[in-house]
């Protein structure tokens, strides 16, 4: 059997909440083929990617199935990089209130962005918030910031 190597993926997702889980699993399978997944990395990537796709489907594209979410990624044994682009009007991540504040704790929503930030090694928002790129370190990797660029 050949050793694991880099894999890449690119697909479009109709904006239906029930499709988010399958899209996340597809990206994680690609990372598993690249040899980067252990239990901890899988959980972090699953939470972060699930939240990002759900935001794109529900908030970005407002659940309109005719609008697509594009998912593009590259996986190596040490790193998963995924970009998620929606067709909505964008948002300002800095404008989202902190759900840990007293008032936010009893609200039903507003925790997704916080979970993304805490689960990934790096996140970048572009195109007015319509495009989000996540980096998650894989098996046995040093955390981002310990040397080297995470976006290669």
């Amino acid at each position: 059997m050949s050793p694991p190597g880099p894999t890449s993926f690119r697909f479009d997702l109709p904006s239906e909440p029930r499709r988010v889980g399958a899209a996340v699993r597809r990206a994680l399978r690609s990372w598993a083929r690249a040899g980067g997944l252990d239990r901890r990395a899988r959980f972090r990537a699953r939470v972060a990617l699930g939240e990002t796709l759900a935001n794109a489907v529900v908030h970005g594209n407002e659940g309109d199935p005719s609008r697509l979410v594009r998912v593009e990624g590259r996986a190596t044994p040490h790193l998963l990089r995924v970009s998620v682009t929606d067709e909505g009007s964008g948002f300002e991540p800095e404008g989202v209130p902190d759900p840990r504040e007293a008032e936010g704790r009893t609200r039903a929503g507003g925790r997704g962005l916080l979970l993304v930030r805490r689960m990934v090694d790096r996140v970048r928002y572009e195109a007015g918030g319509r495009r989000v790129t996540l980096w998650v370190r894989g098996r046995g990797s040093a955390p981002v910031g310990a040397g080297g660029r995470p976006d290669r």
Binding site: P99, R100, R105, L114
Partner: protein, 110 residues
Amino acid sequence: MSFDVVRVEQVTVVAIPRELELGNRDGLKRVVGARLEAGDRKFVLDFERTRFLDSSGLGTLVTLAGEIREAGGELRLAGLSEPIRTLFALTRLDGLFRLSRSRAAAVGEL
């Protein structure tokens, strides 16, 4: 993925499936809503089998806790795995819920 419900003495125990997320959270709302409507007031949500929870699942738990409290009831969450406890801690929801080690412990504490 269904939500199995059993009554243990005066306590309604709902088994949360392997995942609680955007795709199935409405099922949990319906199950607990129906039991509240039927007069149940003491609830345990058992996460023993659960391996994944997203922010919409967390939000659903916040909503249900509010509905149960408003009806004069009580809620405990039982059997949360370490990664899922981490999500509660990151969002500071660990202080909003009463957590028990196991289903049996939660039932005993209500």
